[in-house]
């Protein structure tokens, strides 16, 4: 028995089983939650590479699996990442119980989570970019299955993510080449351009961001929310892998300053776009962009504090975006109708509307909500480096907040006098749970700090 079999192979097999039974939607959803929960528990209880004695029976879970001459390795350092991804999957699949969603979503999403784990496990780590691409390719049919036509956003998503993969692979080869031959300046430039382009396309960084708001606007929010929450986190893992693997890269003097400018650009442009958008359906896409911007700013600090902030930002991101996506799904936001059903929805879906408002304010970084400490830490550290940069971040955040306030205005302005509760009991349960989590993580952020910080153990050479 090895850890990749438990956390990669079994989930893929189980997802196939669920896909066969997909017409029993409630069974499939509950089974996926229970299965991911059990994988989470297994990750908590079973140490890797240690003999476990149960009575007279003893066994060891080894950390590697050989596939086609390459290794998949999940050791104790990766265990926290496994817990994070399966925790997220449990949380996300639980939300599907209460909403109408494509029957293919849960089984395929479970395979995607397993592939994400394999992207963390694969050695050399460069191949992760191909696995991310395969995840994208598995994800697109979920969107297309119940559609009558293909939208531009889906095609753009496919094209951009596919074009990013070769760039990352070539950047990896080139980085290795430069490490062997550090005097080759042409190779250095080539590597930096390939790396920059690859990550910019994957993380929807300006000017490659155009697909993101369109993609979100045109598809089911809970389905797109899933991939847009997980995929950037995995891409950030890949970026950390690059920094961890290549000493020249993390010691390159202008690298972190360059990354900071990119982060600033994302935050400012997102703020500008969010403040002036006429289509509130795009706000979810801007929320993902803002979170990416702050994650990149945290990375740009180039020290242990920055890395800590980066991994700590994962839970606020997941909680905020998942509650946002769930609220939109409960409010029956559909690509065909756009934002229209949400106008004045506070009178007929008060809890979902309140959850949506709270999620929006959380991503904006308002106090007592989970993203606030993360944004504050980024802001504090950037202000020490440059006051101008801090001002730009502030302006970007204010721009996004303006967009959220405009969205709130749409939700609350209504001619309807009476209050109706359009949500059913399970929706009220999950939405209240989401609101509760946001408030708990906002008020007591140190609750989740010990869960996330050990993720950095996997990157042994980073500060």
């Amino acid at each position: 028995m090895s850890s990749p079999i438990i956390w990669i192979i079994y989930p893929v097999i189980f997802s196939l089983f669920l896909w066969i039974l997909r017409q029993y939607t409630v069974f499939v959803k509950i089974s996926a939650v229970v299965f991911c929960g059990s994988l989470l528990l297994t990750g908590l209880l079973l140490p890797i590479n240690t003999f476990i004695n149960i009575g007279t029976f003893s066994f060891e879970i080894s950390d590697e699996l050989l596939i086609l001459g390459r290794r998949l390795v999940l050791d104790n350092n990766d265990q926290q990442a496994i817990l994070f991804f399966y925790g997220l999957a449990t949380f996300w699949f639980a939300g599907t119980i209460t909403i109408e969603i494509n029957e293919h979503f849960v089984p395929i999403a479970l395979s995607i989570v397993a592939l994400f784990i394999s992207a963390i496990a694969v050695e050399p780590f460069l191949y992760a970019s191909i696995l991310i691409e395969i995840c994208v390719l598995m994800f697109i049919p979920i969107i297309l299955w119940d559609r009558k036509t293909v939208e531009q956003g889906v095609l753009l998503f496919l094209v951009f993510q596919t074009l990013a993969m070769p760039l990352i692979l070539l950047a990896g080869w080139s980085s290795g080449g430069f490490e062997a031959n550090p005097t080759d300046q042409a190779l250095l430039q080539q590597t930096l351009v390939l790396l920059g382009l690859g990550f910019a396309i994957m993380l929807a960084i300006f000017p490659f961001h155009s697909w993101l708001p369109v993609f979100v606007r045109q598809n089911h929010p809970y389905i797109t929310g899933f991939i847009l929450t997980l995929q950037p986190i995995l891409v950030l893992f890949l970026a950390l892998d690059f920094l961890n693997a290549f000493v020249w890269l993390r010691n390159f003097p202008q690298l972190f300053e360059g990354i900071r400018w990119i982060g600033l650009m994302i935050v400012v442009i997102t703020g500008f776009l969010a403040a002036f958008t006429q289509d509130m359906g795009r706000m979810f896409g801007y929320a993902v962009m803002l979170e990416n911007g702050f994650a990149i700013l945290a990375l740009s600090l180039g020290n242990q504090i920055g890395l800590n902030i980066l991994v700590l930002s994962f839970i606020p991101r997941v909680v905020g975006l998942s509650v946002w996506a769930l609220s939109l799904s409960v409010l029956k936001y559909m690509p065909e109708t756009g934002f229209a059903p949400l106008i004045g929805s506070i009178r007929n879906h008060p809890i979902a509307s309140f959850a949506l408002i709270l999620a929006g304010l959380s991503i904006s970084g308002l106090p007592i909500l989970p993203t606030y400490p993360i944004h504050l830490m980024v802001f504090e550290n950037i202000i020490r480096l440059s006051l101008n940069h801090a001002v730009l971040i502030f302006l970007g955040t204010v721009g996004f907040l303006v967009g959220i306030l405009r969205m709130i205005r749409l939700l609350v302005v209504s001619n309807q006098k009476e209050w109706l509760f359009g949500e059913n009991w399970s929706q009220i349960f999950f939405l209240t749970g989401g609101i509760g989590m946001m408030l708990i993580f906002g008020l007591f952020p140190k609750l989740y700090f010990p869960l996330l910080l050990p993720i950095l153990n996997a990157f042994e050479y980073l500060p």
């Binding site: 095609l155 094209v159 596919t162 074009l163 070769p166 290795g176 062997a180």
Partner: protein, 214 residues
């Protein structure tokens, strides 16, 4: 001209001596790629497009077989043909009509764009070959397909054309990457990516209102 790839740190997968220039096979492959990529760019008839794609993968196979063992290089050919068969099946299922409208100006524009790509390929391939130390024919074939693929993606709104453009870009990349990395796992994963893209293309083609949206 001989190119000796002998730096084990940078080229662990392919420490071999190549003498490709003047090689009949590589020249033939380049000609195939040149012709097929142009047909894919211009043709509006799905049968001709898919047939050109079939021959394009023969060209890719020819170039990759100069670097890899024939059995491994055959993976590219088989996967490419599988992708083509997925496409053609979906097209037949949808009874996709041949679009035979003669748009002279559009075709002329595409030919001019393709000619520009050829010029860029001729200019850039020696530089790429020097930078990555790869044989110049590999650089030419790779850049040609990537360039034409980019034009195909950028100049079309038809999802099928865009998907074929993506496959063309990937084919170009795979020629290049075959020289840099000879891992079986990567070959398998890239094969999965190609088939996945073709599969998505087939789903898109069979969507109920697809004909209206094109």
């Amino acid at each position: 001209m001989d190119i000796l790839v002998d730096d084990p740190r940078r080229y662990p997968a392919s420490r071999r001596k190549y003498s490709l220039s003047g090689n009949l096979l590589s020249t033939a492959c380049l000609v195939i790629l040149l012709v097929t990529s142009l047909i894919i760019l211009i043709s509006k008839n799905w049968r001709i497009t898919i047939l050109a794609l079939v021959f394009q993968y023969v060209g890719v196979f020819g170039l990759v077989s100069l670097i890899w063992p024939l059995t491994l290089a055959a993976v590219k050919l088989i996967v490419g043909w599988m992708a083509c068969s997925i496409f053609s099946t979906a097209s037949i299922l949808e009874m996709r009509e041949a679009e035979t409208e003669d748009e002279l100006s559009g075709n002329l524009f595409k030919i001019i764009s393709a000619s520009l790509i050829w010029v860029f390929v001729l200019i850039l391939s020696p530089e790429l070959a020097r930078l990555i130390s790869i044989p110049i024919d590999i650089a030419r074939g790779s850049l040609l397909l990537m360039g034409i693929g980019f034009i195909q993606i950028g100049m079309n709104q038809d999802p099928m054309k865009i998907i074929i453009g993506l496959l063309t870009v990937l084919a170009g990349f795979e020629i290049l990457y075959a020289f840099l990395e000879a891992s079986i796992l990567v070959t398998g994963l890239l094969a999965l990516v190609n088939l996945g893209i073709a599969f998505i293309g087939s789903i898109i083609l069979t969507l109920p209102n697809m004909e209206e949206s094109i």
